[in-house]
């Protein structure tokens, strides 16, 4: 029996958003691509599942970089260009902030947002708008430079703000604006989507985050993130990509410093010139490359020199009342007992109680999310991977329930209604769940921490030097753009671009 071709141009390990983006872009350029996904459906954690007859979103809070139909941002535009037609719903607000001394619902749009901050902290409008404008300028530069790299003098000329803020943390830049504490707290809420405290977080990343979400709002697919993942997979297949589910790649085959194929758990050896891996470099360089002697010491030093970032813990509740009846008024609630991101980041090193949660009521962004008379409410914290490394199998269920109970109790108190009296279905997703379904390294979903030592600008500068095996590319949260479903698409495109560039270079060399 013959399941595969003798050879593919590119094999993509992992059919989640990054891998599918790679596949789409490569197929669009006429390459012969095979995607091998270990689960029985696409998307990785961008998926859904059905419990008690109700389809439940597995992980998506809100997509960045989509934009309105007539003003698409890069991810929205890429999907449009590839012919992936997703029914996007715009999330009505930015977020509801529930912080010490603050209860307010914020909306997208720089001026609107600045006015809303001003309503909490009178007189802060100008300063806040200045911060947002700076963010927007840096954001534009990042977008342009990621497509058109340029020389340093040229960069300084055309992208001054980007260049001048690159060496500073978010804390350092925000300090320089001397914002009142509450204004600063309100500007800090989205930090959870990049997940490093402001002492360490490059301002560049903060800029992209704020400009994208505040400037353009966020979007969700009408039929949950499975709609997005499935439509990407379907479109890729239409374009000639072969996708095989339930195929777990165990080994990446390397000879003389160059990739030549993969081996799956069922023993198929499949040949290709390029492999794009969604598996973390940590896993690839310590157990997947065959033989391991092909892994240079610099590759090991690189993965050891980086900090694997956050993982996720979510309690998803399907409740037997509608959102309004339970006092839930906003799609997205950031609830913190402090808004000091560094303090929260340290707090995420443990197993709770946690100081900052992010909650989503899907029905308030998508009226069809669950049947009438019910609603879906998820409570999420993003602990550091290290916290979960200590959890033993025999304690797992107890710890999982203790944390879930704490989160439910906290939000019950906030909402003034005991959520436990309304639970139709409960699903507790943990780092172990992520590991089980996706195989991600230690259940991490955020890739490597965005820090001043692992800065996106530096990542771009050293990317070429960090290619240790010819023909091997990576696509996932562990790549340049970092975590998030929008950045996953960007990371996947980057991997595909690297492959295409390499093919072009080889062709040019051969022509000479």
């Amino acid at each position: 029996m013959k399941f595969y071709k003798d050879h593919y141009d590119v094999i993509v390990i992992g059919g989640a958003l990054a891998g599918l983006s790679s596949a789409l872009m490569l197929a669009d350029k006429g390459l012969d691509v095979l995607v091998l996904e270990r689960h029985n459906l696409p998307g990785g954690i961008a998926t859904s599942f059905v419990r008690g007859g109700i389809e439940i979103e597995a992980s998506l809070h809100e997509m960045m970089s989509i934009g309105e139909k007539d003003n698409r941002l890069k991810v929205g535009k890429f999907l449009d260009d590839m012919g992936v037609d997703i029914d996007w719903l715009k999330v009505p607000e930015a977020y509801h902030a529930s912080l010490p001394g603050i209860e307010i619902t914020m909306h997208p749009g720089f001026e609107t947002y600045a006015r809303e901050v001003d309503s909490v902290v009178p007189g802060s409008y100008d300063k806040v708008l200045k911060v947002l404008n700076l963010c927007h300028t840096v954001f534009d530069s990042v977008n342009e430079l990621s497509i058109h790299p340029m020389s340093k003098p040229m960069m300084l000329l055309k992208h001054e703000a980007f260049v001048k803020t690159a060496g500073y943390s978010t804390k350092e830049v925000l300090d320089s604006f001397d914002l009142p504490q509450k204004a600063r707290d309100l500007l800090s809420c989205y930090w959870i989507y990049v997940g490093t405290g402001f002492e360490e977080l490059p301002f560049t990343i903060f800029s992209v985050l704020m400009a994208d979400y505040v400037g353009y709002g966020s979007f969700i697919p009408h039929k949950l993130s499975h709609e997005m993942s499935l439509k990407m997979a379907e479109r890729a297949e239409e374009m000639g990509v072969q996708i095989e589910y339930r195929q777990h790649v165990e080994k990446i085959l390397v000879r003389d410093g160059k990739v030549y194929g993969v081996r799956t758990a069922r023993g198929d050896e499949i040949m290709s010139d390029y492999v794009i891996s969604a598996a973390y470099p940590n896993k690839v360089y310590t157990s997947m490359i065959e033989p391991l002697s092909e892994v240079p010491p610099q590759a090991i030093k690189m993965v050891n020199g980086r900090r694997v970032s956050l993982t996720a813990f979510s309690v998803i509740l399907i409740l037997d009342k509608e959102a309004e009846e339970l006092g839930i008024k906003d799609y997205s609630i950031f609830h913190g007992t402090t808004m000091d991101t560094d303090e929260i980041y340290r707090n995420f090193k443990g197993l709770g109680p946690y100081k900052y949660t992010t909650c989503i009521c899907h029905n308030l962004g998508n009226p069809d999310a669950t049947p009438p008379g019910t609603c879906s409410f998820s409570i999420t914290v993003l602990p550091q991977v290290d916290a979960w490394k200590e959890v033993k199998a025999e304690d797992y269920d107890r710890i999982k329930h203790e944390i879930a109970k704490q989160l439910i109790d906290e939000m019950s108190e906030y909402l003034g209604v005991d959520l436990l009296d309304h639970v139709l279905e409960i699903v507790i997703e943990t780092p172990v769940t992520v590991s089980h379904y996706t195989g991600m390294w230690n259940g991490s979903i955020y890739g490597y921490a965005h820090t001043m030592e692992d800065h996106i600008v530096a990542r771009l500068q050293t990317a070429e030097a960090e290619k240790f095996i010819e023909g091997l590319e990576f696509a996932g949260a562990h790549q340049i753009s970092g975590d998030g479903m929008g950045p996953a698409v960007t990371n996947g495109r980057k991997a595909a671009k690297n492959v295409l560039d390499d093919i072009r270079k080889k062709k040019e060399a051969a022509a000479k």
Binding site: K164, A166, L224, H226, R246, Q247, W388, H422, L424, A458
Partner: protein, 394 residues
């Protein structure tokens, strides 16, 4: 940092790049392979494991309990009382999967003498595997199983502390597991089992269950047949009977044959308890698909051609309109693995590339976007024309 200083600084990019390289330089060159989170995931969900039949014993006049141990000497995985195991049986060289609720307790899987048990009743009709287990399976036989499956278990953050179990026939098995786990002190709930049988001879696991009755576990046998000496409850699991054994706040867990579900839906309705307090276990494939609402009865004897794609491999096999896509594959010796076999779990998610089909409306567990793109759960989907499907390579 002064704002002026920061505005003059153009060296940031070089600085962060140097910092990055310095961090790598400092880092250890020794590979760190540790992924302890994956180890926990593996302990709970190791995937298919090889099992050996350690012993088979009688569970009633018509049922047997089969004890399995792992062939690799490891402990069985963690699971929740009430979950099922999917077993793969090799019959005439063809792999056929069946789900069975686990009748042993989770603690028994984790003790030194680690095992897992299922209890299977001989069928009254076409129970190919049920009869095979009762008549042919023997100690020493080796099978592959995947366990810790399904959602039919006590969840402390959702369910009432008192469970009223409504069991019929061999549907007692998940409750046997719960009862043992409670008796062992590792499941913190109270359990009242109302167990309906026709005659006392039909009661499965009677001695085992009666032995573990306590202030937390109560077993009430209810006989519907005519048995003059019977001193216990009689009749069906009626609303009145259920009410009699309920507390102020109870959760109702129901597991039994399909006919019992239809009856109990009505009785539960009369109790007027909140929807979140009622949980039905999935009940397996429809015995007679033509009886399902919406099925075009005139189709039922038709046999179609089904083209099965696995990667580039293409096979054409016969597929009966009254048997699921999975059954057609199994008959043809094409491996299409299933877990729940009830249309719910989606493990056998399959793409229909062309042709028309019927999906059982009683257990359509598909995702909305999957419906739009003709993905089906093959165990609960029936061909209504020639079909082309794509299934995973196993």
């Amino acid at each position: 940092m002064k704002i002026k200083g920061f505005l003059k600084d153009v060296g940031g990019a070089s600085r962060v790049t140097k910092a990055r390289l310095a961090a790598f330089e400092k880092a250890s060159p020794l590979p760190e392979k540790t992924d302890p989170v994956a180890e926990v995931a593996h302990a709970w969900h190791p995937g298919p494991i090889e099992l050996r039949v350690a012993e088979i014993r009688t569970a009633s006049k018509t049922a047997k309990t089969v004890r399995f141990v792992r062939t690799d000497g490891e402990k069985l995985p963690f699971f929740y009382a009430g979950q099922f195991i999917s077993l793969g049986f090799m019959l005439d060289g063809k792999l056929i999967c069946r789900p069975y609720s686990i009748s042993s307790a989770p603690y028994e899987a984790r003790q030194d003498n680690s095992y897992v048990e299922i209890t299977v009743r001989r069928s009254k009709g076409d129970g190919l595997i049920a009869d095979y287990v009762n008549d042919e399976l023997k100690a020493g036989d080796v099978l592959v199983g995947t366990m810790g499956l399904g959602q039919f278990y006590y969840e402390p953050l959702r369910d009432a502390k008192h469970i009223v179990a409504l069991a019929g026939g061999v549907g007692i098995t998940p409750f046997a597991s719960m009862a043992k786990e409670i008796a062992h002190g590792t499941l913190d709930a109270d359990l009242t089992i109302l167990y309906g049988s026709v005659s006392s001879d039909d009661i499965v696991l009677k001695e085992e269950l009666d032995r573990i009755q306590s202030d937390r576990v109560q077993i009430v046998h209810v006989l519907s047949g005519d048995e003059p000496d019977w001193k216990g409850e009689r009749g069906f699991l009626s609303a009145d009977l259920i009410r009699k054994y309920s507390r102020e706040d109870s959760s109702y867990f129901i597991c039994g044959p399909q006919v019992m579900y239809r009856f109990l839906r009505g009785e539960i309705e009369k109790l007027n308890v909140p929807r979140r307090r009622v949980r039905f276990e999935v009940f397996g494939q429809a015995k007679d698909v033509s009886s399902l609402p919406g099925y075009p009865a005139e189709m039922k004897d038709r046999v179609f051609e089904m083209t099965v794609m696995r990667g580039l491999q293409k096979d054409v096999i016969p597929a009966r309109a009254d048997e699921s896509i999975v059954t057609a594959c199994e008959r043809a010796g094409i491996v299409l693995l299933t877990d729940c076999r009830s249309g719910e779990c989606g493990f056998c998610r399959t793409k229909v590339l062309s042709g028309s089909y019927f999906v059982s409306p009683e257990n359509d567990g598909r995702r909305a976007a999957d419906k739009d793109f003709n993905y089906v759960h093959a165990c609960a989907t029936y061909p209504l024309s020639d079909l082309t499907v794509k299934i995973p390579i196993e």
